[in-house]
Amino acid sequence: MKRHLVVVGNGMVGQRFVEAMRERDDEHYWAITVLSEESRRAYDRVALSSYFDGTPVEELDVVADGCYDAEHYALHLDESVDSIDRSGRTVTTSRGRVIGFDALVLATGSYPFVPPVPGSELPGCFVYRTLDDLDAIRAAAEDAVASTRGRRAGMVVGGGLLGLEAARALRLLGMSPHVVELAPRLMPLQVDDGGGALLRELIEKLDVTVHVGTSVKAIERDRGRMLATLADGTELDLDVVVFSAGVRPRDQLARDAGLDIGARGGIVVDDACRTSDQAIWAIGECACIGGRVYGLVAPGYTMAEVLADRLTGGESSFISADTSTKLKLLGVDVASFGDALAMTPGALEVTLNNPVDHSYAKLVLSDDATTLLGGVLVGDASKYLSLRPLVGRPLPADPVSMIAPSGGGGIGVGALPGDAQVCSCHAVTKEAICTAITRNGLTDVAAIKSCTKAGTGCGSCVPLLKTLLADSGVAVSNALCEHFDQTRAQLFDVVRSSGIATFTQLIQMHGRGRGCDTCKPVCASILASLEHGHILDGEQATLQDTNDHFLANIQKNGTYSVVPRIAAGEVTPEKLIILGEVARDFGLYTKITGGQRIDLLGARVEQLPAIWRRLVEAGFESGHAYGKALRTVKSCVGSTWCRYGVQDSVSLAIELELRYRGIRSPHKIKAGVSGCARECAEAQSKDIGVIATENGWNLYVGGNGGFRPRHADLLLTDVDTVTLIRTIDRFIMFYVRTADRLQRTASWVESLSDRDRDGLAYLRAVIVDDSLGIAADLDAAMNHHTEVYRDEWAEVLADPERLSRFVSFVNAPDTPDPSISFRSERGQPSPVLVSPPTLEVVR
């Protein structure tokens, strides 16, 4: 007969336990009932904050497919366990059900501790633990945005790991965060004073105000906002308060049932996870094991595995756990591992404080300086992955060389012994991963994840997994280039959330080396999308491809083309005449482009300003033919002239072209508007296609001509112009923020689909139904773009500094490049090419 197992709590650990049972209980000895107080099934609480970065709820879900499909596995959401009857072996739930058990597992996790501050119960005060908490914080922030003038402010009480994460979240919501920490430094549990000081310095640079060594005395309501008074007398005007002052184990249920409780809370269990009652077990953050309560997920997972083993006849025990952490807070790297605070008797410390690149590193060594015990890294945590697995092992190199900026010491993953843990969340060793790679022929990180579970926890070991793949001879990487391990979308997030404003800062903090022709233009594009400064200002100028640098497209003979904007292809006779005159006076080849405008080719660098001066005076502006930017919005003549037209396609195309001109994007963007279903503007082959209907407009997205033609997908039907434009705004902004380098919208839309998600439906949910709650942000970003747009060429002409680069030779500015010449073909100039030198052979 089946025995009944009741699990209280469906958090990360409770769920992991159920899955471990599914794997181990082959005999189907147990029937399992899980009760969860939350309304959502288990999700990735560790990645909670990514919810604010736009990660959809579905991606946070951690429940394996079909987990509760089997008859004897049941999950009840929104139903908590209120009491335990130990002698009757039953639990009573909030819905009044009484459920019998043969074994009971408590996986109730923790609750956030809210210090007894007067006012902490005011609306506007939150904790940071569940998705519901985050929804509430977001709603309050949005209310504040709607009602408060000036900068919105938030306060996070607690400067630990989670507090800093909450501060980052407030920043993403557009607030200025204050962090209040009682201890004299940030992250008091992870870093020492040296690390704390540097951390503070780096974090303050990112617009977070830090108050350490003080506490909150009171919070009062103050004319629709809140006023917080700190013990040091500081007063803060606030819109939102988030308490993040530590967590406490949720042991009330166990206390009420008379189970043993630890001196500082937590349900006392032995190394098999059994409580003082033989039939009751506790795992995860609610358990006190070996006298300790762990606030991290990895030890909880170990407990889940130990317990599943025990309940299926095994003998495993919980030993002790790795409490390493690595975070990227607001773009600042912090890592601590092992005995970070040097608590081991006789421990030695090696510290390297590097004020130049703002990094701090400390290694803790055994008293004989042979064994690594732990360490702290702030500012640059790139060594974390290779150092962490060495804890408790003999040092492979001189300790200073191991933390010195240039690396040295040969401590790459290759140097790790086979039994070193690469993934500490799931306790997976290097050997297990390498075996899985070779035995199962794995070729990517996703395959390693599903095969070994490595990388599916906090994710910090993923770069090491890549290295192991590469070491096994598998070529994989979505790193941008040798200078950045991130993708464009990741860099975009880093720049957006950290406020980094220069390439130098970005590469120093998040990359290596000096950059190249791949990452520099990507960074230039990101900065342009976010900052809207002129692309030729300061250091930004050095990042630009030659096209963006001279605001013109380079041709095969080293001359450039000039493409003024002719929105929707509509041009007055006077302007046409000017184009003809300019082309004639400068001897330029003239052609109608495939984008309904006119290209003047063959201009030398030093001629560009004079050509553009004439064009700008005549009312032309840059057409951005050189940029990864909006190109053209092609239009048919539409209802004004055409006997079939049902809407004015030209007016709309002009409006769209002027609205989106100048926006910098991962690749070029093209649009089209047709006045009726005959589709003379070929709108369905464009990134954004609009086709008029009797009732309004149909919107298509993700079309492409070019290399791999793709028809656009229908996103909206029969919408009015306002809705249409708002949706296109969001489509473009979402694309700008999340697409990869040189990814057109066609492949971006395709990439939004995966095994269990339709990309188009997802896109519609995000930009039409606002499922991620980012629509207001996208709208604001696009409005900002339209407000700050200015013609790049007009700005260059007005500025002698920017103009000064348009010279042929630095020592002979007006001498034309002698290698450029033309012959005449069909009455127009055509370039005479210089043949390359006979290729010189080296040495």
Partner: protein, 112 residues
């Protein structure tokens, strides 16, 4: 390089060179691409792209590959080592390297 017999031509002030960006210079009819890197090293290489024949190397993006300071041709993006002129994507190809120095804030080039 030995100073003996080298004839230096001043081309511009050091301040005229933006770090990490190139300019072209014309010395006795020879086109050179002149670069100042972030750490104020100066490099001069031939301005002609050996792959296409166009005189455009000075307009490429400056960067690094491994430890080498580099420039990428703006036409088809082949990368050249600024110190040796060798093309790192095809080591059988290279651009000439010219002597360069800064004296009293003035950049000088020589034809070797």
């Amino acid at each position: 390089m030995s100073a003996v017999g080298v004839e230096w031509t001043p081309v511009c002030r050091l301040d005229d060179l933006q770090p990490e960006r190139g300019v072209a210079a014309l010395v006795d009819g020879v086109q050179m691409a002149v670069f100042r890197t972030f750490n104020d090293e100066l490099h001069a290489v031939g301005n002609q792209d050996p792959f296409t024949g166009a005189f455009v190397i000075s307009r490429g993006i400056v960067g690094s590959r491994g430890d080498a300071a580099t420039v990428a041709s703006p036409l088809h993006k082949q990368v050249f080592d600024l110190a040796t002129g060798v093309c790192l994507d095809d080591e059988s190809v290279r651009v000439p390297v010219y002597p360069i120095r800064a004296r009293d804030g003035v950049v000088e080039l020589a034809l070797r």
